[in-house]
Amino acid sequence: MSEIARTKMQMAQAPAGLEGPGFFLTSMEKAVGLARKNSIWPLPFATSCCGIEFMATMASHYDLGRFGSERLSFSPRQADLLMVMGTIAKKMGPVLRQVYEQMAEPRWVLSVGACASSGGIFDTYSVLQGIDRIIPVDVYVPGCPPRPEQIIDGLMRVQDLVGHESFRRRNSQEYKELMNKYGIE
């Protein structure tokens, strides 16, 4: 590797901790957060034009692999992040919900584009007016459709959430209440 390429390379930054010759001390939470945020396996739920932008985001030019998310999981069982990209018809709602329920904790949801976030221009009887009516959403990406840069930014905001998430969050009363609000056990 040339000198230039090596200096341009960016490694994930180590969390704050105690460092000495041959050892490094930090909290388990921070170490796990670091590992998780740099290896998010997304499940693309692409139903329309935002899905096309996502394809560009995954491809070599924008390359989501730079953020540790090049491994798409087409099974919800192994996925960490549900990326909902596109219009969700009301008839698709139960399917989306089932996919979310099949994902193992910890799980995150990224809502990409106006349609997934609010129904967008489809203010009509057949379209779900935002996926947050049936599943909890962590990050919303605006745009119709959003540019790949925006989708990357959305993923980076998810990375922030993943990296800073407390171990206790998923067992907390607040989280249980959130799930109950959506009727998910």
């Binding site: 009301k90 203010d123 009509t124 009887y125 057949s126 379209v127 007016q129």
Partner: protein
Amino acid sequence: MAVLTEEKTQALHDQVLHLLKEKFTTGIVSSSCEYDFPVFIVEKEIIHDVLQYVKEEPSLNYHFLTTMCVLHYPENHGNEFAVMYQFHNMPANHRIRIKTFIPDQKLEIPTASDIFECANWMERQEYDFFGVNFIGHPNLIRILNMEDITFFPMRKEFPLEDQTRDDKNDTMFGR
């Protein structure tokens, strides 16, 4: 698809009308040429026989039901709904349209699915959106919309917007 000239459309219209009038003494309401489409409006009572006839009469040979749909004319009292069938004679490349009117008090029409297999799903779609009851249909249930909705969304009295939105109000969106 080749567009027929005005004369050819008229000739086709005259030929089909002649045969229809020969076969059905009553029940043919009116006919006209809309662009390159001869349109025949018939009464609901004979619609099933007409569909059978245009398919099986060798000189007509309309074997292909291109499409069918229901139309809603709320201002047309007594005849609020129309059912339209569009046919194609493949060998001759001729197309005709047959239309019938039904009142909203009695939204019933005999099914065409026993004559044209493809009418099965088309009629389910029209039932789904307009609530027209196709008598004799083997499986008249919703096909596109959610099974549990209680309304027929393509009727004109049904508002277009999703009624569950509460963030859009008069001040912002002029509702």
